[in-house]
Symmetry: C2
Subunit: 478 residues, 2 copies
């Protein structure tokens, strides 16, 4: 047996240091590695396979709602980035600038795209002429670059992968509908495919996207009680259309500006998967996107017939799920720990005694529950168990969020709860910027989301006591 | 009916001006458009869907041969690019340099990757320690940037999309095998999926990749007789491993350098599809990668039952192929021309008379052959016809290449053939650089490929008359 050490021994426990636990899990499970470029990560094969499953699932949902993919240039000329005032103010401080091509100094600097509203608008101005050309429902999968001061794998990196949808519509109503529809697509995807319960809501004006009229968000609660913004959808009105001179001839033969949306979900969502489902043994992958759903570990594989039977089971299961068989010469115990750390939802053990009894052992990663399964029932039992793990993860995450969500009605309660209880806090807000600032500075709640599903948890603003406009879910932001 | 003009009228004919024909087809079929950044194109939804089909097909072939995908940083620090001498000489003159992050001047310039050997090697140095860690069979799908002086959509652009495989092996033999295996994957893909016949061969030492010991290539002949390099596979030996200090403990417990390959195929292949199969009416898409395989055009669609029947057929065919139905209010004639230009392999016409006879009309894009098909045979006839188009395209391209390939044995013949006959020329070569240069300068043959399948077409070098080493296929390069 090789001298490779049992890796799981070196994962910090969540309670001891949550941030270190996170980093340990990312690195040791081989989701990602560090590169020689500050703030840029290498997404290793296991992380890439996870991202591909996420991408394929989401891409199917985009196509089912009528969207088409497109591939836009990586570079944006400085003059183009500057066309929309709020947008350039938001992004210029954090972009990477290309100044030279080969040895030649460029006449105009190019930035590496931090987001692509401007290049989409430039293209839309060329291709939208008539109401017949609308809607345009485009999406692109790419990486973008934002010069970040402090970075953490998946959560905040200089280069990150995402999809960015950019759409143009004949009417404001259609664009509002699209903004909401795509937030719904994100929420369904998070809950159904990633088993992450999310709150759909609107961000405050201070927190909306640079250049947007409104930003919608899905927010999830992580294991440590902090909130993670997991996908956003923006309504732009016709602000960019005016800045980029995009006009079309309407049904009434007048020139009009189209109405715009954009929406994005990034590799950050991998951080959400880790921090929602993970535990002290490492990752726990939601089965629907898990790169490997079932890992077969043969026991006493030097014994006659074990490897053959294991390979036969792999072959059979490969028609029903993503399955792998590990025939390396590491010990079964090492393999159990390794694939627990990697969060493989089901482990299948098969050894000489199991073969005698025509059965195998299936072990769930989430509950560690162990069942003996007759081999002729494998094709029905495995998908059922995968579904059970998927549902179990969602239920557990939802129960945790509910048990860590508090309601407060006055300032003292707000400050005490925010300071003492990890989790989310529901409280009324007057809508004023001064209160928003004070809540951030003095109560330390850096995340706020105005849920679509409003409840009246009081009459007065938790901060100033004035008339309350909205119930807000406050928290500490990733 | 809208006033949109019949677009096909404005495609230049191939014979009048092949380069203009190419540009017209790319732009008018909406495969790509120009962006505001010099040399960067927008790959529009139709082109993106084609690239996605190419990617999914190739990606399946890579995974079937044991490769895993990975996502590496976009940026390469200048010091890393400089580690391998030949490599930096080849690429430094054509890279884009990032000098600023936000308003901060970077301590070290970063280039936007022109290719990723250096970042892969940097990572390999971290993760390869023992023979047990080998082979590493990695691939990434991404865009790369090379600062080109003159550009043409798909054929030569500043930013282009590709996949780059990078592998590390225990022995030189394994790496040579991989270099050849992946060239075989490219050749099978080009011939089976794109219906493009290719010649597998080796490039001369002058033309090999910067830093490689050997470069293999697949070469295709375009409609105008010029050669297009369509995919390359490189053997590196241990040159990069030494430069990057990648060592592993071998089975014999000694420290050794691993042996490396890389291989790439890019959006250039879309140029090859256009120029191999296209005609004066526009694109002709090979069915296996066509974004739309069958376009249904209803005739007299205001008549009762036509739209319903067309939708019923679309629904039925969607289980067997990629099918679309155009219910826009353009005339059937406009639609026929539009989808011919876009190269849709099969058109299905359905009108009141067809419905009466319980049949429809299927028209092949390649031969324009028209058949009446009973509706109850649609699910068998359509896939058969798609296969027939696929095979027909390959046969036609192969016959054209054969009829435009010449064999010459002396210098006068070489010069005359190269000057007068578009196509490829087989001739013997002594292997000397002086003759290679003279063939380029004086006979004007800018492309050369030493095919794996050698034939002895003479005894002496076509240029100097000395002892011939190799039969070379000469041509004019894209």
């Amino acid at each position: 047996m090789p001298d490779k050490q049992k890796l799981v021994e070196s994962i910090t426990s969540m309670d001891a240091d949550f941030a270190q636990w996170y980093t340990d899990v990312v690195i040791k499970s081989e989701l990602a590695g560090y590169s020689g470029v500050r703030g840029c990560m290498i997404i290793r094969p296991y992380g890439t396979a996870l991202w591909e499953n996420i991408r394929n699932d989401l891409d199917g949902r985009f196509k089912a709602t009528g969207h088409e993919n497109i591939m836009m240039p990586l570079f944006i000329p400085e003059s183009l980035l500057q066309k929309e005032k709020d947008h350039v103010e938001g992004f210029a401080p954090e972009v990477a600038w290309v100044t030279h091509g080969g040895s030649e100094l460029l006449a105009e600097r190019l930035c590496v795209r931090p987001t692509s509203e401007t290049v989409f608008c430039d293209h839309y101005a060329q291709i939208i002429h008539s109401w017949r050309d609308l809607p345009k429902l485009y999406n692109q999968w790419c990486s973008v670059v934002r010069w970040e001061k402090t970075t953490r794998p998946f959560l905040r990196t200089t280069e990150f992968y995402w999809q960015e949808g950019h759409t143009m519509h004949e009417t404001a109503q259609e664009a509002w509908d699209e903004t909401e529809r795509m937030l719904g697509v994100y929420a369904d995807f998070a809950e159904q495919s990633l088993a992450i319960p999310v709150i759909k809501g609107r961000k405050t004006d201070r927190e909306k996207f640079a250049g947007a009229e409104a930003t919608y968000t899905i927010e999830a609660m992580m294991h440590d009680g902090k909130a993670l913004q997991s996908g956003t959808s923006h309504y732009f009105g016709d602000g960019f259309a005016r800045a980029f001179d995009i006009q079309f001839t309407g049904r009434d033969n007048t020139l009009q500006y189209p109405h715009q949306t954009s929406w994005g979900l990034s590799t950050r969502i991998i951080g959400a998967i880790i921090m929602t489902h993970g535990d002290d043994s490492g990752l726990v992958m939601p089965p629907r996107v898990a790169p490997v759903q079932v890992m077969i570990v043969p026991v006493a594989m030097h014994k006659e017939g074990v490897l053959e039977k294991a390979e036969e089971l792999r072959e059979r299961l490969s028609k029903a799920c993503r399955v792998k068989l590990d025939v390396s010469d590491y010990s079964p115990g090492w393999k159990f720990a390794e694939y627990e750390m990697k969060g493989v939802p089901l482990r299948l053990e098969i050894g000489p005694k199991d073969i005698e009894k025509n059965q195998c052992v299936l072990v769930r990663r989430d509950s560690r529950e162990k069942v003996f399964v007759p081999l002729d029932q494998l094709e029905t039992t495995v998908p059922e168990l995968l579904e059970a793990v998927q549902q179990g993860l969602f239920d557990k995450a939802l129960a945790r969020r509910e048990s860590m969500t508090y309601t407060v009605t006055d300032w003292a309660q707000m400050c005490r709860t925010a300071a003492e209880k990890p989790g989310l806090v529901k409280a009324m807000w007057c809508g004023g910027e001064a209160c928003e600032q004070k809540l951030k500075d003095e109560a330390g709640v850096t995340s706020r989301c105005m849920p679509f599903e409003q409840e009246k948890v009081g009459e007065a603003c938790v901060c100033c006591g004035g008339a309350a406009e909205k119930m807000v879910i406050w928290g500490k932001a990733y």
